[in-house]
């Protein structure tokens, strides 16, 4: 049985002079020792601000090494981290802050949006500014001698991070995840995919989500490996993607399917493929379904094998493909300690090869949803400690899990969960919208794109509907297209049948 605190401390002490993080922004390399020392100094600062075990520290930043230091500092003092996706609409961030009630908020100086909430202390700085530069975070740590011991007040079974994910009910839900779950699940995962200290990952996923924080920061840490920290993948950073990979000697990637598509479309030379053939050790793929055609295209183009895996914010990693198996199928096999069953509509377990809903039993499960203490939310069967994933699939004869669909009404756009209901609620605010159904339709790059089908009282231009959405929604949640309908397909009970609606849209 792993002692989580000791394990984390040992990783720092065993690797003190090894580079852990290289910042693409500043070019600075931070050793494990640098990160530990700065995180302990920050932890001391937090103590001086009155932060106690269980207090919330919110983070409103883009990717930067300071983000990583804040995560570790919060571990030392037992604070709960609430990372905020800076691309969310201000109303969503306001909603999250009101629920979280942070003691401290770290924010980027260039994020000028103000929020009306009770934060005791706001620390503003210029991310990635070097020590000594104006508004550098490191200036604030100068002269502070650490007075907190490593992981001193870490509550291994307390909520360490609250990750907001779109559910089916509209506004985002905060998934409370313990450090114990993260570390234990991370260790099992990194062993399954055979990560080792010579791996160097390129982190281009948002540190506000598990992709950036867990997949590409904590798991490399647990592997005693290193990371190159870059901007979140976006139109500007994507044209430099392979340059950064080559220039920093990256040999491992974790990508979402939409990034694979974009890289295939934008990369016009063979240099990256040559590099991958010689140096790339591992490419992991997850957060959204990976189409087999995309997988084959990417693997062929870049001379690599893609190891697909599966998990949820609520359960962490459940399955993965592994180099040990010599083959990859579906989303891989169940991780040690987890159990997966596929059940039919009556709750009976399906035979191998038969489709049904995927139910998971895992010791790495979330603590709960923030502010919601009744766990009978329809997706947790408390009696049997099983979690209904809302995904549809089957397990083959060899024990590989295949995802074939979804029972839950969620759109996954570019690896991010989006609630159709949240968008529908916004659309219904428009005076001419009578009825609405928002669905995800297949998109080559994003996996799914958001389409709003609306029935209106009077004529309105699609652009007017889009502008209305832009007032209330984050840019990535605004529908790509508005389709006007005379009537919606319905079941005998009057419920809109989104499945049939999608078929009609596909037929044009």
């Amino acid at each position: 049985m792993i002692n989580v605190k000791e394990h984390l401390e040992n990783i720092f002490s065993k690797n003190s002079s090894k580079v852990f993080v290289t910042s693409v922004f500043s070019g600075v390399e931070y050793t494990y020792d640098d990160i530990q020392l700065d995180s302990l100094r920050l932890a001391t600062r937090l103590r001086l601000l009155g932060v106690k075990n269980g207090d919330v520290v919110a983070i409103y930043l883009s990717n930067c090494v300071e983000y990583i230091i804040i995560y570790f500092a919060c571990m030392h003092v037992g604070a709960t981290v609430v990372p905020l996706n800076y691309r969310l609409h201000p109303t969503e961030i306001q909603f999250i802050l009101e629920g979280a009630m942070p003691h401290v908020l770290f924010r980027a100086r260039n994020f000028t949006q103000e929020f009306d909430c009770c934060v005791k202390h706001t620390i503003t700085f210029v991310p990635n500014a070097k020590d000594g530069e104006e508004y550098s975070f490191f200036n604030w740590l100068q002269g502070i001698e650490p007075m907190v011991s490593p992981f001193e007040d870490l509550g291994v079974e307390d909520a360490f991070v609250v990750m907001y994910t779109s559910g089916t009910t509209g506004m985002p839900k905060g998934v409370e995840i313990t450090c114990g779950a993260l570390v234990k699940n991370g260790m099992v995962f990194k062993d399954a995919v055979e990560l080792s200290p010579d791996f160097k990952f390129y982190n281009i996923l948002d540190l506000a989500y598990l992709g950036g924080f867990y997949n590409l920061m904590l798991i490399p840490f647990l592997s005693q490996a290193s990371i190159v920290l870059g901007e979140t993948f976006d139109p500007r950073s994507m044209v430099y993607f392979w340059d950064h990979v080559k220039n920093h000697g990256v040999n491992a990637l974790w990508l979402v399917p939409s990034i694979l598509s974009i890289l295939l479309a934008i990369d016009r030379s063979d240099a990256a493929a040559d590099y991958c053939k010689k140096f790339m050790k591992r490419i992991l793929v997850g957060t959204a379904p990976l189409a087999s055609t995309l997988k084959e295209k990417f693997e062929k183009r870049y001379n690599v094998v893609l190891y697909e895996n599966y998990g949820l914010s609520e359960t962490l990693f459940i399955t993965t493909n592994s180099p040990k198996d010599g083959k990859c199928k579906g989303v891989g096999r169940v991780l040690q300690g987890c159990e997966v069953v596929v059940v039919d509509v009556y709750g009976a377990e399906c035979a191998p090869g038969r489709e049904g809903e995927i139910i998971v039993k895992t010791p790495y499960r979330m603590k709960g949803y923030l502010g919601i203490h009744d766990c009978s939310l329809g997706n947790i069967d408390q009696g049997q400690d099983r979690f209904q994933t809302g995904d549809w699939g089957y397990i083959d004869e060899d024990g590989y899990l295949f995802i074939t669909g979804r029972t839950k009404d969620i759109i996954i756009r570019g690896g991010i969960n989006i609630s159709p209901k949240q968008i529908e609620d916004v659309l219904l605010k428009h005076p001419v919208v009578e009825e609405v159904a928002v669905v995800g339709m297949p998109n080559d790059f994003l996996g799914e794109e958001i389409i709003a089908c609306i029935r209106v009282r009077s004529v309105v231009a699609p652009q007017e509907i889009i502008r209305h959405c832009q007032q209330y929604l984050a840019a990535f949640k605004v529908p790509a297209k508005v389709v006007f309908v005379e009537q919606m397909p319905r079941s005998v009970t009057g419920k809109i049948q989104k499945g049939n609606l999608k078929k009609l849209l596909a037929e044009g």
Partner: protein
């Protein structure tokens, strides 16, 4: 050049839903900074330009600062078309 500019203005109006007057007033401004395109729309933008003007960009052209403004892009497209002749 005017034809190229008009096509780009139309593209932003139709695909990024940005008013033509706003785009016209921002020809020398960085459209990434303005948040007009996400990664997906940027790819569609590039592919549509390549199809419309019969050119194919190289990797290093995407990194050219001129690429991130409409005025700069007009120049790049025009010079690529002239090379073809």
């Amino acid at each position: 050049m005017e034809i190229i500019k008009k096509w780009l203005l139309d593209w932003f109006k139709k695909n990024a839903l940005i008013d033509e007057k706003i785009v016209e007033a921002s020809l020398n401004e960085d459209y990434f900074e303005k948040g007009w395109l996400d990664s997906f729309k940027f790819i569609t933008f590039i592919l549509d330009i390549e199809q419309e003007f019969g050119i194919r960009f190289a990797n290093d052209e995407f990194q050219n600062k001129e690429f991130s403004t409409i005025a700069g892009l007009c120049n790049i497209i025009a010079s690529r078309k002239n090379e073809k002749k």
